[in-house]
């Protein structure tokens, strides 16, 4: 595939790996913020070709993994409302809530539909006017424009049977909370290339400015990721810290103005609850009042009101997501918790650090 195969070129990968070896001085722990990076690193076995002193750890960038248990429970509870069909991305299907999962609900006969795009959920709503299609709005800034567009499209059609249970999250606020917490010891960050096509590289300027850490915005093929790691190691060696963009074929400066307008029209900043990180002020969005008709929380307030907080769980996903525990260090890893019988989302999501470690690194 064009723009993919060239960036998987073995000769370039080997050459970059050799150059990293020459660049690496002291130990360096680099956090790949994005779940898609976690998956790519595992799939292409990048950890095996990095210099021994360079460690790659996963951050809070798998949207499935950071979705709070209470938010998932609420969405699952929405499925008990009459006429409601739950619509979700496939990634969420097997994540265990307190009592069940979307897959479990479906096995019990509940209406659960999987879509590739929120726009497909709007189409389903048009085709089934006697049902209410409730979409689980999960994902970072990459995904938010598609949800915003789905809401605007539903409004343009005059639909009254489509709404979004919005748990979308914004990446910079979470990174700030994570770094300010001081728990995660990192030497630099690989920033998510596709989120950055929407928010622009300036969104990370606070990381070198406030925390003195080098950043590299990068893509998802092996050459891209190694280029990002090279940039970070070079910055460390030169005693510099900036936001370097090594994904220039996709990320332009400044960011897409239309994405910004679209998001501002539909969403307003809000606090969000993160698994493992708790409630982070300003790290999420809510649907603006002008689109309240499409806000499932506003349409079905009774769902939220009857929920009880989830009981404590032995799952250690929170520590994994904060980068303070490696998957293999979790006492449940590959014992009580496996992809077939997952206890937490990091083992369910294909982009979860535990699932990636289980599949590729055992």
């Amino acid at each position: 595939m064009k723009f993919i195969d060239e960036f998987r070129d073995q000769a370039l990968v080997k050459d970059l790996a050799r150059r990293l070896g020459a660049l690496a001085e002291g130990p360096a722990t680099i956090m790949e913020v994005c779940g898609t990076h976690t998956m790519a690193a595992a799939r292409f076995a990048l950890k095996t070709i990095l210099p021994p002193s360079v460690e790659l750890i996963s951050g809070p960038g798998c949207p499935v993994c950071v979705t709070a248990q209470s938010d998932l429970d609420a969405f699952l509870a929405l499925g008990t409302e009459p006429q409601v069909v739950l619509v979700s991305f496939g990634d969420m299907l097997r994540v265990p809530g307190t009592h069940t999962s979307l897959e479990g609900l479906r096995a019990q006969g509940a209406a659960v539909r999987v879509v590739y795009s929120p726009l497909d959920a709007v189409e389903l709503a048009r085709q089934t006017p006697d049902k209410h299609l409730g979409f689980f709005g999960v994902g970072f800034e990459t995904t938010m424009p598609a949800t915003a567009l789905a809401i605007q499209t539903a409004a343009a059609y005059g639909l009254d049977n489509f709404s979004v249970w919005c748990v979308h999250k914004t990446m910079p606020a979470a990174l700030k909370a994570l770094l300010a917490g001081g728990e995660a010891r990192v030497s630099g960050l690989l920033c998510p290339g596709h989120v950055t096509t929407i928010i622009g590289t300036a969104a990370y300027d606070f990381i070198p400015a406030e925390f003195g850490l080098p950043c590299a915005v990068t893509g998802f093929e092996p050459v891209d990721m190694l280029l990002g790691i090279e940039s970070i190691l070079r910055q460390i060696k030169e005693g510099k810290a900036c936001v370097d963009n090594v994904y220039t074929r996709a990320v332009s400066v400044p960011a897409n103005p239309r994405a910004r307008e679209l998001l501002a029209a539909v969403f307003a900043p809000d606090d969000a609850s993160w698994r493992g990180l708790g409630v982070i002020p300003g790290s999420g969005v809510k649907i603006r009042d002008s689109y309240a008709r499409f806000d499932a929380r506003a349409r079905f307030p009774q769902v939220w009101e009857r929920l009880t907080p989830p009981p404590p769980s032995p799952c250690r996903c929170g520590e994994i997501l904060r980068g303070v525990m490696r998957p293999v260090e979790c006492p449940l890893f590959a014992k009580g918790c496996t992809p077939a019988q997952p206890l937490g989302p990091c083992m369910v999501s294909t982009e979860g650090a535990c699932a990636a470690a289980y599949r590729y690194e055992r």
Binding site: F3, P145, V195
Partner: protein, 73 residues
Amino acid sequence: MCLAIPMRLIEINGVTAVAEVDGVTRAVRLDLLPEAALGDYVLIHAGLAIARVDAEHAQETLSLLRSLADEVY
């Protein structure tokens, strides 16, 4: 979940378009990239084109890497 695939635009009708990769086609929306033209490669995520893939920048990255590789070995 932030996966986005580079697909080639083979049909454009206003903000809706058809994109193709390896013989697979799907309907996509161009609301974020109204300037996209037929034949352009765009990154598709959840049915929406989120960025244009800049062929020149892609080539520049690869050429630079290859020239560095030639220098050393």
